[in-house]
Structure formats: structure tokens, C-alpha cells
């Protein structure tokens, strides 16, 4: 174990948001996603000695997270007692009869692709945010993702607004640079 040794101490700073984004996109519930991230880290910690070091830590953690997401769905299914498949016929009045064919996915729709692309985009941005200096990353996340007001951020981090805008500028420039190749076709 040389380049790929495990460092649980830095896990949270490095991967928590990345894993959280991934989990939210799978279970669409922030609270459940939070639990899944915690379970993933704990499972990682417990099986750290099984980590062969032939994958990066993040890939390894994502693999664990995927298992946890499956476990989550199994659990909610068994709570109901069974995995039920329900066929609901359309109740809208303007459809002529209960034709199942009417509910089949539109083969020309690209909506699904958008969802997948947005997920990839989210993970790509998250990867770039992790590369920022810690304080810049924090300011950027508070401002952009959590939508905290400038005043509140300044109070909490004890900085003045011009510091804040300089940090925002640096982080945004770095993100543009980092995302450049794949996501900016300008």
C-alpha cells in the first residue's frame, strides 16, 4: 500500500459531498442519503484491511455506497412485506380508455439522458470543488449550493465582503478551468 493507502481522517473532507450527491441522486431524500453516506464510511472503515489498493479510494467507496443503496431499497421493500408491482391505469379524463400503450415511454424522449448527464455534471463539479483550497471551497459551497447570504457567510467565517468576493472569484475561475475540457464548449 503506497499510493493508495487509506486515510479515514481525510475521507469526510474529500469524499463526503461527492458520495452525498451520488446518494441523493439514487434515493432522492437528503436524510436517507446522509445515513447512507455514514453507513458507507463506517463499512469502509471496518473493511479497510480488505482494500486492495488497486482502485482509488473514491471508486472503492462508491462501490460500497452502491451496495448500501441496494440494501436501502431491499429494506423498504421488506418493510412493506413484499415487493409489489402496481399497475395504475391512467386516471386522466382526456385519455381514451385505459390503454397501457399510452403509458409506454416515448422512444424519442431525451429526458432520461438529461437526468444522467446532470448527475455526471454534478459529480464532475463536486470533483473540482474538492481540489479547491478548503476555505475557498467552503465559501463557494455556502454561496452557490446552500444559498447563504453574503452577510451571513461573512459573519460565520469572520471575513469581510471584499475577501468573500475575491475567494468567490478564485474558486469560480478555478472551476471554469477544471471543468473546461468536458463541459465548456465555448
Amino acid at each position: 500500500m503506497t499510493s493508495h493507502s487509506l486515510k479515514p481522517d481525510v475521507w469526510v473532507d474529500q469524499y463526503a459531498d461527492y458520495l452525498f450527491n451520488y446518494a441523493v441522486s439514487r434515493v432522492s431524500d437528503a436524510e436517507i442519503a446522509k445515513d447512507i453516506v455514514q453507513e458507507t464510511f463506517l463499512a469502509g472503515l471496518k473493511s479497510a484491511k480488505n482494500f486492495k489498493g488497486d482502485a482509488s479510494e473514491r471508486t472503492w467507496l462508491i462501490a460500497i455506497l452502491k451496495r448500501k443503496v441496494i440494501d436501502h431499497y431491499r429494506k423498504i421493500n421488506s418493510k412493506k412485506g413484499k415487493a409489489e408491482v402496481r399497475m395504475t391505469y391512467s386516471s386522466s379524463v382526456d385519455s381514451e380508455g385505459d390503454w397501457l400503450e399510452e403509458q409506454v415511454a416515448d422512444p424519442f424522449s431525451t429526458l432520461e439522458n438529461d437526468v444522467i448527464e446532470n448527475e455526471e455534471l454534478g459529480l464532475a463539479i463536486q470533483e473540482c470543488i474538492v481540489k479547491l483550497p478548503k476555505k475557498q471551497a467552503r465559501v463557494f459551497q455556502m454561496k452557490t449550493i446552500q444559498g447563504v447570504s453574503t452577510e451571513d457567510i461573512c459573519n460565520e467565517l469572520e471575513i469581510n465582503p471584499s475577501n468573500l468576493w475575491v475567494m468567490i472569484h478564485r474558486s469560480r475561475s478555478a472551476l471554469m478551468e477544471c471543468l473546461n475540457k468536458n463541459w465548456f464548449n465555448v
Binding site: 479515514p8 459531498d17 463506517l42 471496518k46 455534471l121 459551497q141 453574503t150 469560480r172 463541459w183
Partner: protein, 81 residues
Amino acid sequence: MNSCEKAAIICNKAQYNEATLIEKIKLKFHIFICEKCYHFSKKNAKLTHLCNKAKLESLSEKDKENLKEVLNKTSNALHTK
């Protein structure tokens, strides 16, 4: 601070709807005469668009602290075993 740096700051503020009307006019004027800032402002708007589109989520600092605490406790427990 030169005019390009000023323009960049206003451009960033504008991404969060925090630029005043006068600032926005100044920015528009500067972009009109400065090609570099024109491109920067284009890319900056694109970044805002991408961030919105990605529906980013992040854990709060408090959640992260809690997470670290839990991990450290478990890690210590594992090591003392």
C-alpha cells in the same frame, strides 16, 4: 484594482443577483470594450448555468463534523480491539 478586476467582481456578484443597477451598467460598458472580460463573463454565466443544472447538494459543516466524530469513534474502537 484595474478595470478588468473590477469588472470581474461585478460579474461574480451578478451571478448571485447581488450587483446593483449602476454596477451592471458599468459591467456592460466594460464588456463592450474589453474582449477578455467579454469571454470571462460568458464563461461565468455558463458556470452558473451548469451549477444550477447539476442540482448540487452538499452536507452542512455540522453534518460533516458529526460524521467525523462518528468515524473517529469507530476507528478508535477498531484499533483498541
